[in-house]
């Protein structure tokens, strides 16, 4: 081994503590980058491959009922390559082992066998045989959540009678990567699943022996989606279409695409922070090392080592912890990617769910970390390179201290000498102090954001499940039903109260902007479903005019007092002008509400309701569920407690994992910054501190002086972190402001206290680690010349 290499190795060993801290931060940055980038690549690739290999349709449309000939006409529309007619049907399911009724979305398989579009991928067993049997395949998330597989059976009310369906296979589909019931906002895989059945089974249920009620369309390359959608709407208008839509309005597609998009941002910012801190820590460690090795550098140069050789040597020293960080961070990153993939696999179902180690991403991560190291080391390496050999032999001139602002104000008289030392040392290296403050501030901010995210999710949960949804069970009817059904429901076992509701599919237009949505009509004074804003205020549904979620009003560019064009997409499909009565800052969805009587007048259809909300005696809910499972008139049954459990299981769980990781990284940063700061302060000023000991200062006083500087920087960092943290939370809330949901800006005092406690903990640990070193300070050795 070359001697300079040997020196390198021994220097690394000698600086093991600070360099290990750097390595830890670098490893975190590398691991985070790899996992986030791998995840993004994995999702994007899986999505693209899946869509291509299993022919995910481009345009979707549902109609009331259309003849087979209409499908052939649709296929002839210019730009349409394939138009596949099919039957979609929703029905209440009785799942063995599940007390509550579930909902199945039945998807027909053509008599010829495999569908041409949205081809299912069989995981276990097989697809049902065409014909008139009772065989079905069920979706994987649903099967797993309920412990179902081939050989099990399901009960369903189809064709107005109870049917026993035999599960022969478990499958997934590009159409339902994210399995969610249309009206819900969170997946509940126990209570909702896809059921593929032979067309014949659905034909009698839908009363469509030859026609269809849904169309999946694949576009020809280069075709215009809006043109095809417009042509489809014209063609299918007389068959009761709800309007064709492209992938951008397809729920499953949208969730995954949003996820990929969000990952893109995270994959840059989080590792960026960590690698920035890596650069800063290296800067601190190396500048200190070069300062203490002045004489050694001079000797190397005196004996003819070139500037390049000396520069390379110190650069290698900077890269050593990054290499160690890579050795730890790369496998950790792959591990994290697999763990994240496992979480994603809970609600995103792809044919391939394994993330393979992407060495390209790993190489990129290491390269970026190395670049950060080089940037961090640049100044110190330059100092080493440019140090004139003769200069290195002389002791450095005393560091320049000047009377600062405090001194000029005369404030120094108020400070003890030890405090003056602390203040002047900090002020002398403003850049380093600023960087240390920034590091601590970032760690603090990350902790605040992590804590805030929990609070925000809790708030969403509270608003949704405590304040807004107060029913125990909601039911949706297959057909609009007369109002007297309410009385029938009230007589079911355990039902304490019933409120009707009506959901009307509409298109809202203001100028050129159009949104298709469902208008929710609630009876005056509804108690079971309330409209609640993010501050938990309940808004009354106006007796006249519509109440819009603020986000929807923003999208449509309307304000209270403006009027909207409402195209009703059922009944006599009339178009009316309606006033916007009010807006409400809701957290979930982009909703529009109206008073039931007002909506009846608006649509010209009175006495019809599409569903009801039930308040149920918990002691008798079992009996109610049994009854509901056998109701052919129901197309959906929602159960609040189950939805809440589903929300907590999926959203909150995965949240906890990713935020747990963020907290760990924040702690790593905080510890790295504080520990390194103290370590460097100690070694830089060992002589000064030894002198103070000689002069009679106690160990405690000296310790206070070293930590005084760190305490000052930490406190300032925490204050700055509180500001940055709040700003980051506001940014998260702004980025999270989509049509699907809003993230409330609820930063509690608890979040700041939590962050302060964690940072203080990191400070305490590094203080303990340093205390031993200060106590062992060799007074005599420190006062000898040279290193």
């Amino acid at each position: 081994m070359r001697m300079l290499t040997r020196k390198l190795v021994r220097d690394v060993v000698g600086q093991a503590g600070p360099l290990a801290a750097v390595a830890m931060v670098a490893a975190s940055g590398i691991a985070l980058y790899i996992s986030l980038r791998s995840m993004r690549g994995f999702l994007a690739r899986s999505q693209a491959d899946y869509y291509r290999d299993y022919r995910f349709a481009d345009v979707f449309v549902q109609v009331k009922r259309a003849p087979a000939a209409a499908a052939r006409e649709a296929a002839a529309i210019p730009g349409v390559r394939v138009a596949e007619p099919r039957l979609l049907w929703e029905a209440v399911l009785d799942v063995p082992g599940l007390a509550e009724p579930a909902v199945g979305r039945f998807v027909s398989i053509p008599p010829a066998g495999e569908p041409r579009l949205n081809v299912p991928h069989v995981r276990v067993g097989r697809m049902p045989a065409p014909g008139t049997g009772r065989e079905v395949a069920i979706s994987e998330a649903f099967a797993e959540a309920n412990g179902l597989g081939p050989g099990d059976s399901l009960g369903a009310v189809l064709n107005g009678r109870w049917e026993r369906l035999h599960v022969v296979g478990v499958a997934i589909s590009p159409e339902y990567i994210y399995e969610m019931q249309g009206t819900e906002l969170f997946p509940d895989n126990r209570r909702f699943g896809i059921v593929w059945t032979p067309r014949a089974l659905l034909a009698s249920a839908t009363g469509l022996e030859t026609g269809f009620n849904a169309l999946a369309v694949e576009l020809a390359p280069g075709a215009s989606e809006p043109d095809v959608i417009a042509a489809l709407d014209r063609l299918l208008g007389r068959y009761g279409t709800l309007g064709a839509y492209g992938r951008s309005e397809h729920a499953s597609h949208r969730f995954i695409s949003d996820e990929i998009e969000q990952n893109k941002v995270g994959a840059v910012i989080l590792p960026g922070i960590l690698l920035g801190v890596t650069a800063f820590l290296l800067n601190v460690v190396l500048s200190r090392l070069v300062a203490t090795q002045r004489a050694q550098i001079a000797v190397l140069k005196a004996f003819g080592f070139t500037n390049a050789e000396v520069g390379r040597h110190y650069l290698a020293l900077a890269l050593a912890p990054v290499a160690a960080g890579g050795a730890v961070g790369v496998p950790l990153g792959f591990q994290l990617a697999s763990a994240t993939a496992a979480i994603y696999a809970r609600y995103y179902r792809f044919p391939v769910s394994e993330v393979r180690p992407d060495w390209g991403v790993a190489a990129a991560a290491c390269l970026i970390a190395a670049t950060a190291a080089v940037v961090g080391a640049a100044l110190s390496v330059r100092a080493a390179v440019s140090l004139p050999p003769a200069e290195g032999m002389r002791p450095p001139a005393p560091a320049r201290f000047e009377a600062g602002l405090l001194d000029r104000l005369g404030a120094q008289r108020l400070l003890a000498p030890s405090t003056r030392i602390v203040v002047r040392n900090t002020a002398r290296r403003p850049l380093r102090a600023a960087a240390a403050v920034a590091g601590i501030a970032l760690a603090f901010a990350m902790l605040v954001v992590a804590r805030y995210a929990f609070t925000a999710v809790d708030r969403i949960k509270d608003v949704q499940f405590q304040y807004a949804q107060r029913e125990d069970v909601s039911v949706t009817f297959r057909e609009a039903s007369p109002r007297r059904v309410v009385d029938a429901l009230a007589r079911l076992p355990g039902v304490l109260a019933v409120e009707p509701l009506r959901v009307v599919p509409v298109a809202l237009r203001h100028g050129v902007i159009e949104r298709r949505t469902a208008l929710l009509a609630l009876p005056a004074g509804s108690e079971l479903h309330r409209v609640v804003d993010q501050d938990l205020h309940v808004h009354r549904v106006p007796s006249s005019g519509l109440l819009l979620t603020s986000k929807l009003a923003e999208v449509l560019r309307v304000a209270p007092g403006d009027s909207l064009t409402v195209a009703v997409r059922e009944g006599d499909r009339r178009t009316v002008r309606v006033a916007v009565a009010d807006t409400v800052g809701e957290l979930l969805g982009a909703n529009v509400y109206g008073d039931l009587a007002f909506v009846e007048a608006m649509t010209g259809e009175s006495g019809a309701i599409s569903g009801a909300l039930l308040s149920v005696d918990p002691r008798r809910e079992g009996a109610l569920y049994v009854t509901l499972k056998r109701q052919p008139a129901l197309v959906g049954v929602g159960i609040r407690s189950a939805a809440l459990a589903g929300f907590e299981k999926t959203i909150a769980d995965s949240f906890q994992v990713s935020l747990g990781i963020a907290v760990i990284f924040a702690v790593v940063i905080a510890f790295g910054v504080v520990y390194n700061g103290a370590r460097v302060a100690l070694s830089e000023r060992a002589r000064e501190l030894a002198s103070l000991r000689v002069l009679g200062f106690t160990k405690r006083e000296v310790t206070t002086m070293v930590f005084g500087e760190q305490t000052l920087l930490t406190v300032v960092g925490m204050l700055a972190g509180a500001g940055i943290g709040y700003a980051l939370c506001a940014w998260v809330a702004a980025v999270g402001n989509t049509e699907l949901f809003r993230i409330p800006l609820v930063v509690t005092a608890g979040a700041y206290l939590y962050a302060a406690a964690v940072i203080a903990g990191a400070f305490g640990v590094s203080a303990l680690a340093m205390r031993g070193r200060i106590r062992a300070l060799d007074i005599v050795a420190c006062l000898k010349t040279g290193e």
Partner: protein, 235 residues
């Protein structure tokens, strides 16, 4: 007749130490011949070290000229000066300046690795009487031993000139003599020109010539009729 190794005329050097301007050299003329032993005497601040650093290519003069054989040292670039030091010059410093993280042998090997025609590190260490302490770290050796490692490091590359700045300044008399013997042996056996800076007038007796410096100038030059063996010196 021995050939001239260094030829310097009108050397001046001014540098800034903090806010203070220091005139370290104020016109120095000097010729050194191959194989001679030159002792430079003078009080602190008389410019001894500055002169040595300029001769060694560590520092550039503010004015004047200096040649090593037929190489111009003034105006030579950093790369040329680095090569000059690598190939021709050995340094010994008052505070040894060993690399604390390398053993005795490794400190010597550090230099032999980059020198064009070095001797084996072990030979160099035997030459200074340290054949037994090869694997020790600087912190495990006495001052005299460390200084002899520094000398071994300087002579291992077979330099044309050995520049020593107060090589015994931090040592007691007995240890100092051992170190000077090592230097004299290098001069005798390898023919290396030896320039030694010292405060100690006794050491002047081991030189062929003695330069007295004062206020950045050479005040006088005396020539010793007989060079004393360092073993006979005592202070």
């Amino acid at each position: 007749m021995a050939t001239t190794l260094f030829h310097a005329r009108g050397l001046t050097k001014t540098y800034h130490m903090g806010d203070v301007e220091v005139h370290a050299l104020q016109g120095v003329d000097l010729d050194l011949v191959e194989g001679e032993v030159v002792i430079i005497l003078g009080p602190s601040g008389s410019g001894k070290s500055t002169l040595l650093n300029i001769l060694g290519g560590l520092d550039a003069p503010s004015g004047g000229e200096v040649n090593f054989r037929d190489h111009q040292l003034v105006g030579a670039g950093d790369a040329a000066l680095t090569r000059y030091r690598r190939e021709h010059v050995g340094f010994v410093f008052q505070f040894y300046n060993l690399l604390p993280s390398l053993t005795a042998r490794e400190n010597v090997a550090l230099v032999t690795e980059i020198a064009p025609r070095p001797m084996p590190p072990d030979d160099a260490l035997r030459l200074v009487g340290l054949g037994e302490r090869l694997a020790h770290f600087p912190s495990q050796m006495s001052g005299g031993e460390q200084q002899r490692v520094a000398i071994a490091r300087a002579i291992a590359k077979r330099p044309d000139v050995l520049l020593c700045d107060e090589p015994t300044g931090a040592l007691d008399s007995e240890t100092g003599v051992v170190v000077l013997q090592a230097l004299a042996r290098a001069n005798r056996e390898l023919g290396t020109t030896l320039v030694v800076i010292t405060h100690n007038a006794t050491i002047a007796q081991m030189g062929d010539r003695v330069l007295h410096m004062r206020n950045g100038r050479i005040a006088s030059i005396e020539t010793n009729a007989v060079r004393r063996d360092p073993a006979q010196l005592e202070w």
